[in-house]
């Protein structure tokens, strides 16, 4: 879905604003949002792909004007409501009106370091042969305007070359939709600047994306 998150190659955003000696958090609430997001994720109602998709479904103007932690917060509220943990009425009143559904999954302070160190690897047991190998010329699919995808629109319908095989990974397009992990091969695919941006490309540049096998055809 080429929603507000699909920013690669878009013009009109002006210069990169770099803050000197930037603090890790700009306000206390940002750290709390980070923590709430990770703790809520541990409850297991949704996966990483569904949470990304919730952010990407926010309105364009909000997505582009909010701070990133505001995007996280709004998506978290959406997810908690969708999965029955915190209703809009509860948020409005600032108090719980019904018990939590999964208190047994609560992340205790003592377990934080272990959980963060473990992370959430997405490589899975290989159940299919690689459809492409390093050096293959490929063309990316057009992709769909609907549903979750990790194929950015600037790289849709473009020819490139496979430059790496990254592993057999969970397929976000399926995972975000709740239709299973559907793992598949993930490749590094490299495009020339000219292929992506035409004559206006900066000379001597290339871009590599990580592309799941369903995004690719032999060129």
């Amino acid at each position: 879905m080429n929603g507000p998150q699909d920013l690669g190659g878009r013009a009109g955003f002006g210069p990169v604003l770099i803050e000197q000696d930037e603090p890790i958090f700009h306000a206390d609430w940002e750290g709390r949002v980070l923590g709430l997001t990770l703790c809520s994720g541990v409850l297991g109602h949704w996966n990483l792909d569904e949470s990304r998709h919730a952010r990407e479904c926010l309105p364009h103007t909000f997505y582009l004007s909010g701070s990133y932690y505001d995007i996280w917060l709004t998506a978290l509220e959406t997810l908690l409501a969708r999965h029955g943990e915190v209703s809009a009425a509860e948020r409005a009143q600032g108090k719980a009106l019904a018990p939590g559904l999964r208190p047994e999954r609560k992340l205790d302070a003592a377990a934080v370091f272990g959980v963060l160190s473990k992370g959430g690897p997405v490589d899975r047991s290989v159940t299919a042969e690689e459809g492409f190998k390093v050096g293959d010329r490929v063309k990316t699919r057009r992709g769909s305007m609907k549903g979750h995808t990790r194929l950015p629109s600037y790289a849709m319908g473009r020819e490139g070359v496979v430059t790496g095989v990254r592993g057999f990974h969970v397929y976000p397009d399926s995972s975000a939709r709740g239709t299973g992990e559907a793992p598949c091969w993930l490749y590094g695919v490299t495009f020339t600047g000219e292929e992506l941006w035409g004559e206006g490309a900066e000379p001597g540049t290339e871009v590599t994306i990580d592309a799941f096998e369903p995004y690719l055809d032999h060129a």
Binding site: G9, A27, G35, S67, R105, D108, L196, V207, I209
Partner: protein, 203 residues
């Protein structure tokens, strides 16, 4: 462009109230331990940050066996230093040098190798960086004060899946025989994203 006042990631106290309300509800429901939030904040404020990545880079510069291992298996080698986990479950290492400069971006969100670099800065998550790093990387680099020789090839890596990238910048001249600890001081966060170079001694 340098920005001394940040205009973007600050918010009204309404926002504090909104977040506090959500936390209160989740704690009342026994779904969230406030101490866990504290521990997460402490982790990324004090323990996990670009100092981790800098240690990897410094060792890669000083220890040929480590560098070789890093090239062969980035994940395992980085984990051997104790840096692993969330947002670094799958790592690739990109070596600057030999006429190649690497630059990392996540155009679709703000994927970033937390375990070695900590949390991403606001500019990394911002629309201008995400939009332009792929289409005009040299112009972006110039805004960071990085001017590359014309013949240098710029390789941009868009983190579109769960693989996270760490750039190994070129080792500055005049650092022969330096200790890993001394070298690590030269390794800025930006140099490991590709929007900067390693600092030169005395710079």
């Amino acid at each position: 462009m340098l920005m001394h006042d940040h205009a973007h990631d600050n918010e009204l106290s309404d926002q504090e109230a909104r977040v506090r309300a959500l936390e209160t509800i989740l704690v009342e429901k026994d779904l969230v331990d406030p101490g866990a939030i504290d521990a997460i904040i402490e982790t990324y404020s004090e323990k996990v940050g670009p100092q981790n990545g800098a240690k990897v880079v410094a060792r890669a510069w000083s220890d040929p066996a480590f560098a070789k291992a890093l090239k062969a298996d980035a994940m395992t080698t980085i984990e051997s230093m104790g840096f692993k986990g969330r947002q670094a479950e799958h790592m690739e290492v990109l070596w600057n040098g030999g006429g190649v400069h690497n630059l990392v971006v996540c155009t679709l969100c703000s994927c970033y190798p937390w375990a070695v670099l900590g949390l991403p800065p606001v500019w990394y998550k911002s629309a201008p960086y995400r939009a332009r790093a792929v289409s005009e990387p040299r112009a972006v680099l110039a805004e960071f004060g990085v001017e590359l020789p014309e013949e240098t090839r710029v390789k941009v890596w868009d983190s579109t899946a769960e693989v996270r990238y760490l750039v190994i910048p070129e080792r500055p001249e005049g650092t022969e025989g330096w200790s890993e600890d001394d070298l690590a001081v030269l390794v800025s966060r930006e140099s490991m994203i590709g929007t900067g170079l390693a600092r030169s001694p005395g710079a």
